[in-house]
């Protein structure tokens, strides 16, 4: 029987379908719930140094083929999150701590906290405003990204995953910077810059005006990023963006992903999304003669 087990960096996972950051992952209860629903690993909501309320509503727009969200990074702050991480230890799968900051120092501080809390790895959300610049994202600047990864690398011994933004033509340079700085994996992609407008109300729907597009609408974009990344970097790639069935997951893996994450699919399909992807993927692998997931990684390049 085909096996879904994978090793991503140094993390051994029972299956390659992880929960993406920002979706049902702010509390220990929800992390454990998702883990029990069949995910191979769960990533926490991105946590910052201080509690943040996020933006007023609307923070989400539902589309036929995805969502646009501008939650505004609400989170209880790294101190209060200690309790959630403590309770999340009973999770049957690894809990990866996602963090965001505006400087290398802030990232490394948060990473070492996540290590203290028992996280299995840290995921750096690089899609937040670049403090030095114009509100541009850190993740479009290879030097800034390199500095963040280096600092985190030296401050903690956990595997370091860097989550990349697709909103740049420099994605490959950024990924190479992650690799050179000692990052253990890249996670691609975060949401795509987007907006929804109400013709009757005559204004953007999200209170923040702009937001990030996720779900099936961005799957072809994420797939392209992962495919291109696979040709450029040698560290593992974790694919995210519009995965909601086994076929999506297999496509990402064939493009070069060692594992995938599911965000919007939790809302669009339900918590059964993890189990149904795994079941479908295993059936596909048996039909097509793949014994392990790693045999599928990157085969679309051959």
């Amino acid at each position: 029987m085909s096996s879904l087990e994978v090793i991503v960096g140094s993390l051994a996972l029972r299956n390659p379908i992880m929960l993406a950051s920002g979706v049902m992952d702010e509390t220990a209860g929800s992390l454990i719930r998702v883990a029990r629903s069949g995910a191979g690993a769960v990533v926490t909501k991105s946590i910052g140094s201080e509690p943040r309320k996020g933006y007023p509503g609307p923070t989400l727009v539902e589309l036929d083929d995805g969502y646009i969200n501008a939650m505004g990074l609400p989170n209880p702050g790294i101190e209060a999150f200690a309790a959630e991480m403590h309770d999340a230890r009973s999770s049957p799968v690894p809990v990866i701590g996602s963090i965001f900051g505006s400087s290398p120092k802030e990232f490394s501080f948060l990473a070492s906290k996540m290590q203290d809390y028992g996280a299995a790895a840290v995921e750096l959300n690089l899609s937040c405003p670049h403090a030095k610049g114009y509100g541009m994202e850190i993740g479009v600047d290879p030097e800034m990204v390199s500095a963040v990864v280096k600092e985190v690398r030296s401050a903690c011994s956990l595997p370091v995953f860097a989550k990349l933004t697709p909103n740049t033509h420099r994605l490959m340079d950024v990924a190479k910077a992650v690799e050179a700085a000692g990052g253990d994996a890249v996670v691609a992609i975060n949401t795509v810059k987007a907006m929804a407008i109400s013709a009757e109300i005559r204004r953007p729907i999200l209170s923040n005006k702009g937001g990030g597009l996720s779900g099936p609408a961005i799957k072809p974009i994420g797939l392209r990023c992962v495919y291109d990344l696979h040709a450029e970097v040698n560290i593992p790639i974790i694919g995210v963006g519009g995965v909601e069935n086994w076929r999506d997951a297999v496509e990402y893996i064939m493009a070069g992903a060692s594992a995938v994450q599911v965000g919007s699919g939790v809302g669009r399909v339900g918590l059964e999304v993890f189990e149904s992807i795994c079941t479908g993927m295993r059936a596909f692998m048996e039909r097509e003669g793949f014994a392990t997931v790693s045999q599928m990684v990157g085969v679309a390049h051959e």
Partner: protein, 258 residues
């Protein structure tokens, strides 16, 4: 999937001090106990139970902060956005139903009473702090032959809480289900009272909601999403929830005592 629609307010009714019902046309089918996310442009997007469940839908809003205040100021012809209906709603079994509402809790319970459509099958108990805050009494009387009132200060009906009234009713009469909505402290006493009398209940909870569609996780109670798997929970579900009646999450996701 339930996308944003822009609707026009067709009537504004003041129910009590600080409580207003807004009606608008929306043909979507809803079940009693479901809710909308209401977009008040330039202010916020908040959950509101469906208080009138005909094509001319209604919400009954209590002013407690910016968004509810702005909603209560709306006039006929103004526009708001609605998403939904969301959530599971009440599942009403055959037999005799006892409805127990505190405050605006009645807003989500009345469509259940009206949905049953048999005033002999439903008894309604309404609680309020004081007479002037009592809500939707006349509407309740149209869908139930037996409506009783309690106020904390005794200014109308029985003096005491609605839970005390429920307890009396459960002692004297057989009910197949109790439906409840109101402040969570009230609901947690209600569950205890029902459990003691061995009567099933379904209680509608409130949690901080942002997305309304089961995605963001801001509304979870013990890992369960109130927006999609609730807001109505059965006795069995409620008994398992450690956070029920004890704590909730604020906008940041921090746990706060109730």
């Amino acid at each position: 999937m339930s996308k944003l629609r822009i609707v026009t307010i067709t009537s504004v009714t003041k129910e009590a001090a600080g409580v207003t019902t807004l009606r608008f046309h929306d043909e979507t089918e809803a079940r009693p106990g479901q809710f909308y996310m209401i977009w008040m442009p330039n202010v916020d997007d908040i959950p509101m139970s469906i208080s009138y469940n005909t094509v001319e839908k209604g919400i009954t809003v209590k002013e407690v902060g910016d968004a509810t205040r702005a909603l209560c100021k709306l006039k006929v012809q103004d526009r708001i956005g609605v998403r939904g209906p969301f959530g599971n709603g009440f599942k009403i079994p055959k037999g005799k139903v006892l409805i127990a509402g505190g405050g605006t809790g009645m807003a989500s319970l009345l469509p259940a009473a009206e949905g049953i459509g048999d005033p002999g099958r439903v008894d309604v108990l309404i609680g309020a702090k004081t007479a002037s805050e009592l809500l939707l009494l006349e509407r309740a009387r149209r869908s139930s032959n037996e409506v009783h009132i309690s106020t904390d200060d005794g200014s109308m009906g029985k003096k005491g809480t609605v839970v005390e009234m429920v307890q009396k009713h459960l002692e004297s009469k057989r009910y197949d289900i109790v439906l409840g909505c109101g402040p969570e402290r009230m609901l947690s006493s209600l569950l205890k009272v029902c459990d003691k009398a061995s009567v099933e209940c379904q209680l509608s909870l409130e949690r901080y909601m942002k997305c309304g569609v089961g995605l963001c996780g801001s509304c979870v109670i013990d890992g369960v999403r109130v927006c999609t798997e609730g807001p109505v929970f059965s006795s069995a579900e409620l008994r398992k929830m450690k956070e029920f009646g004890s704590s909730k999450r604020d906008e940041c996701g921090c746990a706060v005592k109730l």
